[in-house]
């Protein structure tokens, strides 16, 4: 029986196609990989990331590329899954043509990819992972988004000072992002004298939030802080209304998504965001206009942050060439307001951990559209 040899050949073929597939064609373009979930439950966030990157790619190439070489965005879908993220990261880490990565979205994916980039000496910018530990763990990781703890502090201050809430309940998803937010918010609220009347958790895969919401209803909070992501938030708000819970709802940047606009119950919801499309200079207006033209969509903050992250990557490569170590050093050198990268999300510069200091802004849903909240807190 020759099945054995057949499998041997088969195994060889598998190995061969694997190595063939991983060797990239076309050396002339500069590749900038962008890794995020482009399918799955968080795909609509990933779409912002993808579109922001593609828009920047168009712009760079239209203006002659980086020192004459065209740029190519390489998209990698990691489904917000740590293992998928590690597999994708490995591919980039061992591709000598890659000198910087933009990604990932979920902090758990970023943390899984982080040691791989670090070992390969490959710098990365995350436009969206807000877990406080990322910067501490690797000197190769940078981010142009604020951290969870900053955002939680900010939201508590906004709720207390601007919205004048007295009693708030927290509804948080059991994930790293939401737990970070909840802890920071709780601590800040205590200091400000804002009462947390209840805190309940939920798991991402469930669709039934009524047990917890019924409890909230009896606590009569002024507002419920939803620490989590938009797909669940829209269900939560609808279910709360159907139970007769009439209080306000607010959340952080994970709720900044168009899916909530389709839900009439979400009217009045306010969220923090690093980017406001309707408040900015000429460059922001250009960005929004081009974005609408190209994708027939409204840009969200994921798109804006990614647009800037790709811009920073391009600036670094333009300045020091295709060298991982030098690109890292260039990014680390962007360390003060004077040296900051001026993008559409404001000035980005990094502290010694590669974290950035950025203002959080507030927007809300009015008449089924996102608009800047009348009062901002600076």
């Amino acid at each position: 029986m020759n099945t054995g040899r057949f499998f041997l050949v088969l195994a060889g073929l598998v190995l061969l196609s694997l190595s063939a597939g991983s060797v990239w064609a076309q050396a002339e373009k500069i590749k900038i990989p962008v890794a995020a979930p482009f399918t799955g439950p968080l795909a609509s966030f990933g779409e912002g990331i993808k579109n922001g990157a593609l828009l920047k790619e168009d712009e760079i190439n239209a203006s002659g590329g980086i020192n004459g070489r065209m740029v190519e965005i390489v998209l990698a879908d990691e489904l917000c899954d740590p293992q998928e993220a590690a597999a994708v990261a490995t591919r980039f880490a061992h591709d000598p043509q890659v000198v910087i990565v933009i990604g990932h979205l979920c902090s758990s994916a970023t943390l899984a990819a982080l040691p791989i980039y670090k070992e390969a000496g490959l710098p990365a910018i995350t436009p969206a992972s807000t877990n406080p530990e990322i910067g501490r763990l690797s000197s190769y990781y940078f981010r142009n988004v604020y951290r969870d703890d900053f955002q939680g502090d900010f939201l508590a201050a906004y709720a207390e000072k601007v919205k004048k809430f007295k009693k708030v309940a927290i509804f948080y998803e059991v994930n790293d992002y939401a737990l970070g937010l909840k802890d920071a918010f709780t601590k800040a609220a205590e200091k400000l004298g804002l009462r947390i009347v209840g805190a309940e958790s939920y798991m991402a895969k469930t669709a039934d939030f009524k047990a917890q919401l019924s409890k909230f209803k009896m606590l009569r909070p002024d507002a419920v802080f939803i620490a989590g992501y938009a797909p669940q938030a829209t269900l939560i708000i609808s279910q709360a209304r159907s139970l007769g819970l009439k209080c306000a709802f607010f959340g952080a940047d994970g709720l900044d998504d168009a899916v909530l606009l389709k839900n009439p119950d979400a009217e009045g919801l306010f969220v923090t965001t690093p980017f406001l499309a309707d408040q900015g200079g000429a460059r922001v207006n250009d960005f929004v206009e081009h974005y609408r033209e190209k994708f027939s969509l409204e840009p969200n903050w994921f798109a804006a942050n990614t647009y800037d992250a790709v811009g920073m990557a391009a600036a670094a490569i333009a300045a020091v060439g295709l060298d991982r170590g030098k690109v890292r050093a260039w990014l680390a050198g962007v360390s003060s307001p004077e040296k900051a990268y001026q993008g559409i999300t404001g000035a980005t510069y990094f502290d010694e951990n590669g974290d950035c200091l950025k203002a959080a802004l507030v927007k809300m849903i009015r008449d089924g559209r996102w608009v800047s909240a009348g009062e901002q807190l600076r």
């Binding site: 598998v14 799955g40 740590p82 597999a87 758990s108 737990l179």
Partner: protein, 318 residues
Amino acid sequence: MHLDDRLFHDKKLYLPLLIVVLILPWLPLGQAGPYVIRIATLTLLYMVLAQGLNVVPGFTGLLDLGYVGFFGIGAYTAALLTIHYHWSLWLILPLAALNGALWGVLRGAPSLRLTDDYFAIVTFGFSELIILVIKNELWLTRGPMGIPGIARPELFGVVLDQPWQTYYLILFLLLLVLWVVVRIRNSRLGRAWFAIREDEIAAECVGINVARYKIIAFALSAAIGALAGAFYARWFRFVHPDMFKFWESILILCLIVLGGMGSISGALLGALLLIPLTEVLRIILPSEFSSARYLLFGLLIVVMMRWRPAGLLPVERE
């Protein structure tokens, strides 16, 4: 003697394979080299897992749908011991395996009397509970924050930080596991397991202590899963509850269904074919299909059960 390991006895078959496996890190793979080594490492890891799972459904005929639970227990045991006590990998590996075995016995002992489908359901529920605890008990596991910054594996004080070093480490573990599994399978113990698989009541009648032998199988299987988990934690340097989803149990089951349940060489072949395939599919499929590529795995299970239920390398007996 069981002829399932034709692979191990026919030099023409196993020698070339063994040589490729041994020299893989030194093959001229060019730029793709480190990437191929990483996938190869992953493949060897899944070979270990497939061997471990194989012990229960393959040797005793009970379907385990919660194998990922032991993988997770091993990974978290290793992660916590490394982070808090900075113990050596070589101390952690046996401890993790022991902890796995303990949970394997705890799970197995009450379910001894269950028939096949109820046993499968209990294993599933048990592993989901384990993962739920890992996700929710923040004080112990940091829950969904995961545990980042786990130290690399080391040997005699030398840190194994090169891809080829980790490759040989998992190869060593695989060979160790293979040695144990083959030895046991060909011993009295192995024959008792096969007797139980074929006919539990008949086995009981000829004086086989079914309960005892089943418990040993559970412990061994769980220990191997936890061992793989411990390696995984030190290799990935990050553990997170999402790494231990139900899907992983199914994937490992796929490997042994393809190779042939109970077949040691089959479990190796299953991993050799399917684990690199998931990577190849990721590369060749357009992005919108790549997340649905596991559709093929579901189909594969159905097709195998329909047309080749004994797998590609079935267990054959004289």
